[in-house]
Symmetry: none
Subunit: 246 residues, 2 copies
């Protein structure tokens, strides 16, 4: 499979069907076809179809889901896009840097999983909770005094850089290699971590802040399945010890 | 004046006012404001204004002229854009190469003159006569089977590359003031981690392998000082619990 086939565009609660259509067109231009729509306001829509200008193959196989979790469950790497300065600290990259990192990701992955690019609402972008699902954010360098980039334009620029970096790349599955933990495996890891910090009374009830910090830390690192197993094994060691089980 | 102030976007006989508006928006995003419209079908237009999404300063000072000659009279360098294979042979560059050449142009020019980027009709592009006014053509690399790029999208990609090449890069200040942990802090962290895994009997003596894995994991993430403190606090919680200190 080609590297670009592993790229998934995820639009979160888009309000304008025209933007969905223009996104499909930009994807088709750049050779990307995996589109997932999280709770769109209006889809399918003749407006989307008109703006897609013939990119029907992208719209036809677009999946509509109700939560972000569903959209990224099988993804090893989740990247957000942002247009605004954030109050919370989060690693940021340019589209070029992001494309380079995605290229490296394909090298390090044994068995390639989809890579999700998240794009937030036209009006308000992504929530902090959504943001925390991302390893890093991409910021397209724009004029500060006029930074409101059209949604499909942001998709276009991101995919343009990705195409430059990945277009001729084929992904060969590597036998026996470890792979990055999926979003779902990471969710189970966080559940375990949450139970663990409560059990050891490290968390004192204001755990949502701690949980957020932990999520930020471990999302940033992109753990491999073996590493998830190792840390969960460590939690269990402590749990067993506290249970007096040996 | 900034280099980007010398960039002129010339739209030749655009049929859709929406594309003019979207072009103005893309220009404002990228910090370019000199727009010239050669014989547009419909301008000014409320459709253009709506799609400009606030880039009124670009539309307001856009000049409407009747011939390409008027549009480029004062320009030192004229560059065309093309989406299709041409019957006549003409030098072609990628947007990246074009941006580099424009950068060199500014170096070699004593007294800077505007640099024109020509974009042809939505349906039929540029005529051969128009093409011959150009030093070279820019072709945006797209999927061959779906190469019809929206007019404003082509402007956006071209200006995006130009901005990357011509604007001096700015680093956004990081809010919050935390910093990455030093190598020394990380060494103390690893010492603590080593003691911790021994204490909880997670490590069974073959600890150098475990230690190496842990080191790889946490070095990859580049932890901030607050995160190091948080994890070491967690180790201490467990240690205290095992000591019966609570």
């Amino acid at each position: 499979m080609k590297a670009l086939d592993y790229i998934r565009v995820v639009l979160i609660q888009s309000t304008h069907p025209g933007n969905i259509g223009a996104t499909a067109r930009a994807m088709a231009n750049m050779g990307v076809s995996d589109l997932v729509l999280v709770d769109p306001a209006d889809f399918p829509s003749p407006v989307a179809t008109a703006r897609a200008a013939g990119a029907d193959h992208v719209l036809d196989k677009a999946r509509v889901v109700s939560t972000l979790d569903e959209a990224i469950a099988d993804c090893a790497l989740v990247i957000g896009s942002t247009a605004r300065l954030r109050s919370i600290q989060w690693p940021e990259k340019t589209p070029e840097e992001a494309a380079a990192e995605i290229g490296e990701e394909f090298v390090s992955q044994g068995d390639a999983a989809p890579i999700a690019l998240l794009f937030g609402r036209e009006s308000s972008g992504m929530t902090n909770g959504e943001l925390e699902r991302c390893r890093f954010l991409v910021r397209i360098p724009v004029e500060e005094s006029f930074s409101s980039l059209n949604l499909a334009s942001a998709v276009l620029v991101m995919l343009y850089e990705l195409r430059k970096s990945l277009v001729s790349r084929e992904i060969a599955p590597v036998a026996g290699g470890d792979r990055l933990a999926s979003a779902e495996e990471m969710r189970h890891f966080y559940d375990h971590l949450q139970a663990f910090v409560t059990r050891i009374e490290f968390s004192d009830g204001r755990s949502s802040k701690l949980h957020r910090k932990m999520t930020r830390l471990f999302n940033r690192v992109s753990m491999y399945t073996q590493e998830v197993k190792m840390l969960r094994g460590m939690f269990r060691s402590v749990e067993n010890k506290l249970d007096g089980k040996y």
